[in-house]
């Protein structure tokens, strides 16, 4: 996959991938404010696997190691889907010609 992505597109794609992601313990709607851990009931291991899924989806390496390390520094250790979409937009945009 090449080209640029709007934040809305990325958010929709992430929500689509999460909709049938194994490990999920929640079935409500997913939006920018949805929290990965507190709302979706996912664990940090799911974030590792989601990172790989997204790299496969976008067909390029993304610095998920850095994102995970930043998450490890947070007091609540949670991440909103909006923040994840912003991370993707930032890193997918960097490679754009």
């Amino acid at each position: 996959m090449t080209g640029s992505y709007s934040r809305e597109e990325i958010l929709a794609e992430v929500a689509g991938i999460l909709a049938d992601f194994q490990g999920r313990e929640y079935s409500g709607p997913i939006d920018r404010e949805t929290r990965f851990f507190a709302d979706l009931g996912l664990a940090s291991i799911d974030a590792v696997v989601l990172g790989e899924t997204l790299q496969d989806h976008y067909r390029r390496p993304l610095p998920f190691g850095e994102l995970m390390a930043e998450l490890g520094q947070r007091v609540d250790r949670d991440l909103t889907i909006g923040e994840l979409a912003d991370f993707l937009a930032r890193n997918l945009g960097t490679d754009r010609e």
């Binding site: 851990f37 664990a43 940090s44 590792v48 190691g65 995970m68 390390a69």
Partner: protein
């Protein structure tokens, strides 16, 4: 996601970097994400081929109903080392992962170059510790009590009893419990609760005090400054021939989560200095 077959089971494995082999082992109820969250995975991959895996029963690895002693897990470590083509490795383990790491060195000393033991408590050395001092446990116990689950201090380390109580909660109570104690991935915990992991993690499984004391490899004992297991840390430094200790400032039992920067810095410094290894003096508190 990368999966490897070993010992008849499928394991979720993550690998990064090039260099001498280094294996990362998480604790009971954890998973390999701990090594990403504390940045050890990326930092150590600058100088090593780092392999982290989900223990059997955990994360995205298979969940057999039995076989969860440190000896069973050590067998998995050796089988995975065979699979990745690692004749020898440096092994880092956290909590029960450190017990597994040491057990691996005990049964296959020629395959383990060095050990980093993060806050382990060994069933064979239980007499050293007064576990009622563990503040983290007391907080967890209170939160659980508020959500209707009474966890006995006497059986604080008894995961089997813990699982028994949690598994019998109905949906509403379970949600209340999860919200109170903040456990993500509770379904995985309950899945583990149906195995023998709780009971198996309490037994020596052959890792006697004599076997622990027979370890000759360089060892770094990394403990939280306020770890409930400091007597074990002191015992290891006093009794193992090549054991240094380092205390991680402000941390209790979970230094990789409680002070990830200091934890990973201590790990990296010691591992990268292995070639120069010569002393076994304590190296003090890292801020």
């Amino acid at each position: 996601m990368p999966k490897l077959k070993a010992n008849g089971l499928t394991f979720h494995v993550q690998q990064a970097g090039e260099g001498p082999d280094l294996i990362l082992i998480h604790g009971v109820t954890g998973d390999l994400s701990i090594w990403f969250l504390c940045k050890a995975m990326t930092e150590l991959a600058r100088t090593h081929r780092v392999t982290a895996f989900d223990l059997r029963g955990h994360g995205y690895s298979d969940v057999p109903s039995t076989g969860y002693t440190s000896l069973d897990h050590a067998g998995d470590v050796l089988a995975l080392m065979d699979e990745i083509g690692a004749p020898r490795a440096r092994i880092v383990g956290h909590s029960f992962g450190a017990v597994i790491a040491l057990h691996t060195a005990a049964i296959a000393p020629e395959r383990v170059e060095a050990l980093v033991l993060s806050d382990p408590y060994f069933p064979a050395l239980r007499h050293l510790e007064d576990l009622s001092r563990w503040g983290h446990w007391q907080v967890f116990q209170q939160e659980a009590a508020d959500a209707g689950v009474s966890l006995s201090s006497e059986h604080w380390y008894d995961l089997g009893k813990f699982f028994d109580q949690v598994m019998h909660l109905d949906g509403e109570k379970l949600l209340q419990f999860r919200q109170a104690v903040g456990l993500p991935g509770l379904n995985r915990l309950l899945r583990l609760g149906k195995t023998t992991a709780g009971d198996d993690s309490k037994v020596e499984a052959g890792l006697t005090a004599e076997k622990i004391l027979a370890i000759r490899q360089p060892v770094l004992a990394v403990y939280g400054e306020f770890s409930p297991f400091l007597s074990t840390a002191n015992y290891l430094v006093e009794h193992l021939p090549h054991c240094q200790s380092v205390l991680i400032k402000g941390a209790q039992h979970r230094a990789p989560e409680e002070n990830p920067e200091a934890f990973t810095a201590a790990l990296k410094q010691w591992i990268e200095g292995l070639e120069r290894f010569s002393t076994h003096e304590p190296v003090g508190v890292v801020s």
